[in-house]
Amino acid sequence: MNYAERLENVAVLGAAGKMGSGIVLLVGMEMADLGLKPENRSKKYVLHAVDVSHPALSGLMKYLREQVRKAAEKRIVALRKVYADRADLIENRDIVEQYAADVLDVIRPVTILEAAAEANVIFEAAPEDMELKLRLLTRVASDSPRQPWVFTNTSSIPIQEVDAKARLEGRIMGFHFYNPPAVQKLVELIRGQATRPEVAEFAEALAKSLRKTVVPASDCAGFIGNGHFMRDMLHAFSEVERLGRELPFVQAVYAVNRVSQDFLVRPMGIFQLVDYVGLDVCQCILRVMDPRLPGQNLRSPLLERVLGQGVKGGQNHDGSQKDGLLRYEKSRPAGVYDPEAKRYAPFSEFQADCDKRLGPLPEPALPWKAAVKHPLKDKALAEFFGKLEGLKTLGSELARRYGARSREIGLKLVSDKVARSADDVNEVLLTGFYHAYGPINEYFSERVTP
């Protein structure tokens, strides 16, 4: 079965979720594109979009209609050639509508899991819960006569474990898209110990065809992306606790969040990122990583506490940010959750005080947006961080500790052989997290943890 044949029948489990819907979009378009090639016209491409509820699947179809149209608009020059032999499709609008129809024609939204049993390829994008994933895969993949290949979008669970427990005999691989899959260029590919070479070959071919930037990661809980992000987040929580001895809690959260954005020249503060991913999702990931990486204490009582109070973050259907550790106004942070008072304290109550305590940014300022577009980015960053080092302020101290910790985490991922190289770690942070610079750099060199 070649690439085009294998993609004739595909299933996506958890299709209506944040990651699943993006995977349906990308893979659905890839299948439609194959189907439009003259040599494949006799094939019938089918993608079973499996999820638990009809309302969620309706939402998926609406999302797909909008996104496919947008994608077709971007690709109009090429699509006119694809439909060159269709005399009835004349204007760009005709072509965009036809392409949207052709992609949607591939998608079968279903709530019946068994529909996936006829697939050659299964993308698993269920919530980050080992038991759930095993239940699903056991039902549709383990004993299926089709012997489907499984690509799990897990961002933390070791592939080998899933393989063994779901009895997949090497027909599985980690194919970790970043959020949102349609936009994010990065894909982490993770081979389990028994992953078959032909499965890996297919994954690489697909990633290439989707024009993704591929970084291979070893099969170690959390891989590279969450291996860095979770430890980075835990450092932020421990800094909040440390600062909390001198500052009110909400100010400590504000300070660490601001330092991790403005002082470290990152696209958003660490707690904003935690809210974006969802506190519940972070918790799931920690629960996967902690027991599998003993002695590293990958836990946060603070995270558990606020989650216990129902503070979750994540996004609304329209992509807007839900309140989490921070409160948002027009998707911009505007307050901090106080677990004692069980309310959000608005920035206005303490921002000026707290900013004063942190001290000024180095001059000239280097906002993240300016840094990523800077023609001499490395030089500008070196200058900025050089000046930061000279500032004897709380902000500078927190930032240097933070940058140094991030570097340590990155280096550990290399020494633990989770990543092949420092470049791979940096690529994941640059591409997957939109950082302006990789964590393994020359800007921060001191040690934070003993």
């Binding site: 608009e73 971007k74 109009i76 020059v77 006119r80 004349i90 204007e91 760009n92 609008r93």
Partner: protein
Amino acid sequence: MTTTNKPRRKVFVTAGCNTISMGSGRKEFHPKKPRPGLEDYIQEAGRAVLKRIGGAKNVDEGVIGNFMAGRFNSQGNLAALIPSIDEGLMFKPCTRVEGACCSGGLALISGIKSVLAETAETVLCVGVEVQNTVKALYGADILATAGWSRERKAGHAYFFPGKFSDRAGAYFAKYGRERTRKAMARWYRGAVENARLCPTAQEYHNSVKDLEAQALVEPNPRSFVEHLNVFDCSKVSDGASAIAIVSEEGLKAAGIPKNEAVEVVSWGQVEADLTRPPDDLTRLETTRRAAEQALMSAGITVNDLATVETHDCFTIAGILAAEALGLAAPGEGPDFVLDGHTARGGRIPFNTTGGLIGWGHPTGATGVHQAVTLLEQLTGKAGASQIELSPKRPYGLSINMGGDDKTVVAVVYRKG
């Protein structure tokens, strides 16, 4: 035989007005926020003219040039929007004319002919287009109707950029690419620099420092056309222009002194066959004929022109127009531009408020906009964009083109 179009009666244009050319580049423009509609633009431009000519009572007739409101705005019967400008225009005769991007030029000619026929002493002439109602790639479908419909299927997604990309490609092949591309970038720079002097221009807010470097970015045929980048193209614009076309009596009735008007000395109006491809992609033959007809009718040569407003829907069209006018020999248009002859302060300044690339290209309004610009320049009312005038060269020429060099109107004006 060439027809001569020298009026038997004096015809003037006066009291011209342009709205802002709205679209990307203007600070006020937000693609997702509600914007003024077709009628708002018509009314704004029309009312400004009425105010200067003593009101609607002095208007005998209205004419409106528009290309494709039927598709951009789901609006037909545009003549009936003229009375919405002013109660006093109710029940007066009005006409809508269409000739693609030359609709404004045809509106001028229509008004001029009415004054010559003595069926009107004063014609209110409006040009309008509101195009930001659809995304650029769907706008391209609509604009493509200026070409032959049977060519659409085989045409590029961005049909007209595709047509002029083919022209640029043919020109590169015949005369060399590097120097031509440099001249195209120079044309872009001139357009934007002139637009910065005109507050209604779409590129008025443009603050890019090295415009030529920006315009030299390599074309990307995967997302656009083979031989042009986006800086080689006029933008999507919303806007209207209006002007009064008057006889001497009309001018008197309006109480406007002659030095605030310019005389329509002559014109050229030429139509080519929509179903026939150009004989030579490196020439604008229809444009050449229209300009020749206008200049011959006026009994002047290009050397008598103080300034030219030409239809630079694409940078290459600006260069080809310089050749069509005989200012440069075939293949030497790029040198003419690179030597600074078309620049402000050059031998013959072109498009002094930015032209289609710098001022904007609300398609159906463009021909009227050119008349307003020449009126302002020749009467010394062009504000910051004013060029120096020599009494030896009192003429201005406009060239308005519809489609791929199919419908062309050229008009010669003289200081009143």
